[in-house]
């Protein structure tokens, strides 16, 4: 009965893996998968190339590992969408979390966008297994809210697409935005715009009896 080696990961291993994955995020998001080189990643991590390959099987494994870890974080704001909360506020909260995350983690957003743009050659299985069920579930929640009259009738799927694109745009296209706007206070204005847009879109038509709050 040969036991599977537990082989606890050493401190060095932990540190170097993290160094490598962080460097890989930097390089892959900046240069794309094809444009990135192991030498660049190694240099950025402060390790030698053969040392990288002591920890990972190859370029593709590094790339997939970064993307896989990222996926969890990336889906988190949507996971938090609470079916028991107030529909409009829940969705606006989701927009806010998504925008915050995009602006605080532009590299992650760019890496993910790059992978999808090129047809998701590595992540398609995970989109199926991780994103799809979550997406369907949350679409159902939104549809329920609509059916209950607590949310304006919108297409749930396209609403989510719209939230994704609007928020991630501030990370993915920051080079373009930088050319077009000089202001540094982009985030609050972006958030104000998104809140205005989605509040109007999502607030259900006053069903009847409820009086408008006095001015």
């Amino acid at each position: 009965m040969s036991q599977i080696k537990p082989k606890k990961t050493s401190r060095i291993q932990m540190r170097n893996r993290r160094l490598i994955l962080n460097a890989a995020l930097e390089i892959f998001s900046r240069d794309g998968f094809g444009g990135a080189t192991l030498d660049a990643i190694a240099a950025n991590a402060g390790l030698s190339k053969p040392n990288l390959l002591y920890y990972f099987e190859g370029k593709t494994e590094i790339y997939v590992t970064v993307l896989s870890q990222l996926m969890e974080t990336w889906l988190d704001p949507l996971v938090e969408l609470d079916s028991t909360g107030d529909p409009v506020e829940e969705l606006l909260g989701y927009v806010r979390r998504k925008l915050d995350m995009s602006i605080e983690m532009p590299r992650e957003s760019k890496l993910f966008a790059g992978e999808i743009i090129q047809g998701a050659p590595q992540m398609k299985p995970r989109l199926q297994s991780d994103l799809k069920p979550l997406f369907d579930q949350k679409c159902a929640v939104i549809q329920t809210w609509i059916d209950e009259g607590r949310l304006a009738p919108v297409d749930p799927a396209h609403l989510l697409f719209s939230i994704w694109s609007n928020t991630q745009h501030y990370a993915d296209f920051e080079a373009q935005i930088g050319v077009l706007l000089d202001a540094k206070n982009i985030q609050p204005r972006a958030m104000r715009h998104l809140e205005q847009m989605y509040r109007q879109l999502l607030t259900p038509p006053d069903p009847s009896g409820v009086a408008a709050p006095p001015d």
Copy 2:
């Protein structure tokens, strides 16, 4: 007085340049700049690699040429935004043109997105010289409409960002959308959703005297 040779471009030259640029669009948008190879472009164009390099100085020149030609087409829908038309309908028309273009030209959208994501290393000058003035001008038009009370008060810049991201998303993230939605009639539903969203956002609050149309 040595005259500069006019040297009209031959028919062969026209044909092969077009073949190359079309192949380059295909390959660059699929694999990114770094991932694309001259061999792949040559094969896709049906030419030999040295033959490519007879028509273009190198990989970068091909890439820049494709992007530059694309830029014109890409800005066209915005150019058509007519300051003398009805504000809401003009902007909805812009959304429609942008969505049509994204869905009909996904390769162009992806190529452009990829370049911007990676910091616009080649196109930053053209963003400054071509996009920026147009952007500023159209923002001013939108602001004028708002000042005249013919458009709801929105942030013009972020409105345009929003239109760009929403429409281009259907091209750039089509791999993801393909996983999440099976329906083939994506475009009409997308357009319906965008029309609903932007019509509500942009329609100005009834200033007062104007009666609602009779039911």
